[in-house]
């Protein structure tokens, strides 16, 4: 397929995925025992009050009618009103989106900033002490849960060294960055554990490849062979792995935002589930699904850019 057609058609192919996800989240959240109206009105609410609010939010309609309303609203750019916050869910999401974007984006950049140098050292000094340490640490890192790592980082860097805030999200730009260092580092370390091993293996294979030999036979110094030929070829599989893991990272923001008390979408989702705020849960879940789909789409484009052989 032609590249431009790919850019146009791929999102269309992903549409059914989004529809499927919307149905699943819609049904799942409603099948958990509990009722948003009871949560809202508290234990001493009267049945008639409950009934009135249920009517108001359309909760008495059959499930499929509720779903059609939900879809219809989506086309109008609305996601319904939050039962708890009493505002439009989209507004709620927009107000929470920045910390989550910073968290995900920062984690990815930081993960690459950790992975590329470490994998480079490990591969180019294969068998050295540095290589062994990097491999050991990244293997150990694979087994650590992100929240545990986050808590450890808080204890060391916030509590003991007092370098970074324990939790929350700042007001000014610099303050926000300062707050996001530890959460991003937590996710980045977990990602790097996966990526470093993968990139190191690719680099080792490419260092011994025929094309690297040919580059040396053209007289290129080892540094140029590495950065111009070995690294670009090795990054292709690593980009794919990163894209797969961004899905994990997006769902991981739920945990990270809880650990670090970041007012982002993950936190919104967790509260929404606890209060059975159906509209909020649906809205955030749709956003996460859309983001994951978009990231995979971007990764496809990136792969095609990095590797001209890839057929679409």
């Amino acid at each position: 397929m032609n590249r431009y057609r790919f850019v146009l058609y791929r999102p269309l192919q992903l549409l059914p995925v989004l529809v499927g996800i919307s149905i699943i989240t819609f049904v799942l959240i409603r099948s958990i025992p509990g009722d948003p109206v009871r949560v809202l009105l508290g234990p001493r609410s009267t049945p008639s009050a409950i009934e009135r609010i249920r009517e108001q939010f359309g909760l008495n309609e059959p499930l499929w009618v509720q779903y059609l309303y939900f879809v219809k609203n989506l086309f109008h750019g609305e996601m319904g009103r939050s039962i708890l916050y009493k505002v439009d869910v989209l507004k709620l999401i927009v107000s929470r989106i920045e910390p989550t974007l910073v968290l995900v984006g920062g984690s990815v950049l930081l993960a690459l900033a950790i992975t590329i140098p470490l994998a480079t050292i490990a591969a180019r000094r294969r068998g050295s002490l540095a290589d062994h340490v990097i491999r050991l640490v990244s293997t150990a890192g694979l087994g650590l849960p992100a929240f545990w790592l986050g808590i450890m980082l808080i204890i060391v860097f916030s509590v003991q060294l007092d370098l970074f805030p324990v939790s929350g999200y700042g007001r000014t730009f610099l303050d926000k960055l300062h707050h996001m260092v530890l959460p991003c580092l937590t996710a980045a370390l977990a990602l790097s554990a996966v990526l470093t091993r993968n990139l190191r293996a690719s680099l080792l294979a490419e260092l011994n490849s025929d094309q690297a030999t040919a580059a040396r036979a053209r007289g290129l110094p080892e540094n140029q062979v590495f950065w111009r030929h070995v690294m670009p070829n090795s990054l292709v599989p690593t980009i794919n792995l990163l894209a797969i893991n961004i899905g994990w990272l997006i769902s991981g923001t739920v945990v990270l935002e809880s650990v670090f008390a970041i007012p982002g979408m993950g936190q919104l989702l967790v509260r929404g589930i606890f209060t059975r705020d159906y509209m909020v849960v649906q809205g955030v879940a749709m956003c996460f699904a859309l983001a994951t789909v978009m990231v995979n789409f971007l990764a496809d484009i990136l792969t095609v850019t990095a590797d001209p052989r890839v057929k679409l």
Binding site: D210, Q211, A214, A217, R218, G219, R228, H229, P308, R309
Partner: protein, 330 residues
């Protein structure tokens, strides 16, 4: 002689293993003259590739090492150069053409940039000038529409075009010597003929000398001026093409020629020389060919035969060389 471009003497490459280091290229000597195509033939594992890689000091394994000898090119011994100077030789004075163009070209960099990269590294020219030179070389190796093909990736080329592209990369800096390691083995017959013709044209137009490595004596008789026959890491016979093909004096050469399927007899069973080529770690003493040689005797098993003259510009390493046609007649 002044028209000798490359003079290799006693080149020895050893492999470091569990035991003492063993020579897989053992005292190889030959001269390459300007504008000459020298064939390097021999069975698989005879050390052809290792010899050629030793000449650019890029041995194919960490356990291999150059243990001695010299290779003089332009008045300097390549084997004695420091790492920086040897990089100037690679791709500068010596261009390498590999067997498999698909794996030896960077798949994610355009052909043109791979050529320009070599030019920019060896000569301080501007980006635009490197591009112009690269396009010029692509045209010389017979790639149609070179301005457009400059920006093509290797996978967008056919096998034959890809091999032309690799020849273009090797030619980028106008080398004195091209080393072509089985450059046509992966190609079909028609394309093979085109590539051979291209190499001969380049020799004629540029005066480049070529070391042509192959198994195929048919190819040798088509394009080579002289031939060196390798066996077990040694050159056992070297001479003009007509001294070797059909008139070889070394029993191994004679056997090799006899084993080539005769032209026009496709169905004929291919004969092979009885026995196995020597393996690393089990190199026989004396003449390395003696376990397979019909003429072997006690001397052959103990004493390495020196490479000695047998007529003008024809050298043979054998205690009991085969009589050639003139000798049989007299």
């Amino acid at each position: 002689m002044s028209d000798t471009v490359l003079s290799v003497r006693d080149l020895t490459v050893v492999v470091h293993g569990d035991g003492p280091p063993e020579a897989i290229v053992d005292g190889v000597s030959f001269d390459l003259k300007r504008g000459e195509i020298l064939g390097l033939v021999g069975e698989s594992g005879s050390g052809k590739s290792v010899t050629s890689r030793a000449l650019i000091r890029l041995l194919p394994g960490a356990r291999l090492g150059i243990a001695g000898g010299s290779a003089v090119l332009g008045g300097r011994d390549i084997l004695a150069l420091d790492e920086n100077s040897v990089r100037a030789v690679r791709g500068g004075e010596i261009g390498m053409i590999f067997q498999n163009p698909s794996s030896h070209l960077d798949p994610v960099m355009t052909i043109g940039r791979q050529i320009a990269e070599s030019i920019r590294f060896h000569r301080s020219v501007s980006r635009g000038e490197a591009r112009r030179q690269a396009i010029d070389i692509l045209r010389q190796v017979g790639i149609p529409d070179p301005e457009r093909r400059y920006d093509a990736y290797p996978h967008e080329f056919s096998g034959g075009m890809r091999q032309r592209a690799m020849i273009a990369v090797a030619l980028a800096c106008d080398p004195d010597v091209l080393i072509a390691d089985e450059p046509t083995t992966a190609l079909d017959v028609t394309v093979q003929a085109q590539i051979l013709k291209l190499l001969m044209d380049l020799r004629d137009t540029r005066g480049v000398s070529i070391i042509f490595i192959t198994h195929d004596l048919g190819v040798v008789s088509q394009i080579c001026d002289r031939v060196a026959v390798m066996y077990g890491g040694r050159i056992v016979e070297v001479g003009d093409k007509r001294d070797i093909i059909g008139n070889g004096r070394h029993p191994y050469t004679a056997g090799l020629v006899a084993c080539q399927p005769a032209e026009g007899h496709p169905g004929e069973r291919v004969r092979t020389i009885a026995g196995q080529p020597p393996r690393v770690g089990q190199m026989p003493p004396g003449c390395r060919f003696h376990p397979r040689c019909p003429k072997a005797d006690a001397v052959c098993m103990q004493t390495r035969p020196p490479l000695e003259a047998s007529g003008t510009a024809h050298l043979v390493a054998c205690h009991h060389p085969v009589l050639n046609a003139q000798e049989v007649a007299s």
